[in-house]
């Protein structure tokens, strides 16, 4: 119980810290932050339920006014902004990512965690993000999707790193990989 609560809080804090890392600008001028990698890691390391809870906890703290989103943003405004759909998608993304890592045991962990991060952290998260953007900006889903494709290369890179990181963590601290704990 205590360990679960602390791990959930820790990963919520990890998302916050990853958002404070200065953003890297990719070759074609798109800024990427490491924050969405935090969401992927919540799923791959904590598993489905705890990963989703860590994201929910983080979002609760953002909602009550802490500037934890990348670039020091936060507060209730973040939940009505065009990018709000992505935030709503975080817990679901972490859940799907974690669910895949918990169930798919046949392949090397780096591959499993990487694929899970792509499906959860990109497919699911973009699904929510695009729907939210289409709703707020009153555009079609295809038009909204065109607005976010610029972030795709960065997020693919993050999924690959999340996969390798998860495998390295499993080697160094096997007991902390709650998604694979029996």
């Amino acid at each position: 119980m205590e360990r679960n609560v602390v791990m959930i809080a820790l990963f919520a804090a990890l998302i916050a810290v990853l958002g404070l890392i200065p953003k890297i600008t990719l070759a074609f001028g798109v800024p990427i932050t490491a924050q969405s990698m935090g969401v992927m890691l919540c799923g791959t390391v904590l598993g489905a339920r705890r990963g989703a809870l860590a994201c929910l906890l983080f979002l609760l703290l953002v909602a009550i006014g802490l500037p934890l989103l990348s670039g020091g943003r936060g507060g209730l405004g973040a939940f009505v902004a065009p990018s709000a759909g992505f935030l709503v998608g975080w817990p679901v993304a972490a859940f799907v990512t974690g669910w895949i890592v918990e169930r798919w045991r046949g392949a090397p962990l780096a591959l499993v965690a990487g694929v899970a991060s792509v499906l959860g952290g990109i497919v699911v998260m973009y699904g929510f993000g695009i729907a939210g953007m289409a709703l707020v900006l009153e555009k079609s889903l295809v038009e909204a999707a065109a607005l976010v494709t610029a972030f795709l290369p960065g997020d693919l890179l993050k999924a690959v790193i999340a996969g390798m990181l998860t495998a390295a963590l499993a080697r160094a601290r096997p007991g902390s990989l709650l998604s694979r704990a029996v």
Binding site: M1, E2, R3, V5, V6, M7, I8, A9, L10, A12, A13, L14, A16, V17, L20, I21, A34, M37, L41, L57, F58, L60, L61, I64, G65, L66, P67, L68, G71, G72, R73, G74, G75, L76, G77, F79, V80, A81, P82, V136, L137, E138, K139, E143, L147, I161, L165, A168, L169, A172, R173, S176
Partner: protein
């Protein structure tokens, strides 16, 4: 750390946080059903008036928190100019700015302690169902405490990287950083358990 709350104390600070949040929900919902461009303009001007009321410092702080909106306003504006539907574009952009500005206003004028009290109140039904919400409250406090600690550890790691390598720290630093954090988590959970754990006191 950057604060999202107001630099000056306003009259809205004295209003109950729950009422402000409920009002915000209603107003945001209303904005999404409103279609008349003039009504949207009135709403936008009213919200901007609210920002101007507490004085220049407040206005400047509010302006800073709304900066992230301008790229979206620009995209919507261009799209609807090309699409030859400027009125519709104006409605969308005004609704966007009004909704985010209103929400930011509530965040700016409500202290963290009051927000946490609202969360405590909202979770009361869970306690009546005999669920333990103490874990949630401890977890919230832990995140607030852990974030600056992790940030310090990350900075220390980056510094030791720079001491040994001519290249800039890159993503490789995330592994030792996460390991440090995981070890911290083990120590904290041991400490929590040693102090009686998370079982709710008889209430």
């Amino acid at each position: 750390m950057i604060s999202l709350t107001s630099p000056v104390r306003t009259r809205a600070h004295d209003w109950p946080a729950g009422a402000k949040l409920a009002g915000l929900c209603l107003a945001t919902l209303g904005l999404f059903f409103l279609a008349d461009p003039l009504a949207h303009l009135a709403a936008l001007l009213a919200v901007l008036g609210l920002y101007a009321l507490p004085g220049r410092r407040f206005l400047r702080a509010g302006w800073r928190s709304l900066r992230m909106l301008w790229p979206f306003v620009l995209v919507v504006g261009l799209y609807h100019l090309i699409d030859a539907s400027p009125v519709q574009g104006a409605v969308i952009a005004m609704r966007l700015v009004t909704a985010v500005a209103l929400a930011t206003l509530v965040t700016m004028t409500t202290r963290l302690t009051e927000m946490i009290a609202v969360v405590h109140w909202l979770t009361a039904p869970l306690r009546r169902l005999r669920l333990n919400t103490r874990a949630l409250e401890i977890a919230m406090a832990l995140v607030i405490r852990l974030t600056p600690v992790l940030l310090d550890k990350g900075a220390a790691l980056a510094e030791s990287w720079r001491a040994r390598s001519p290249r800039r720290p890159n993503w490789r630093i995330v592994l030792p950083f996460t390991l440090l954090a995981l070890d911290d988590a083990d120590h904290i959970s041991d400490a929590l358990r040693a102090r009686g754990g998370l079982h709710s006191p008889e209430d």
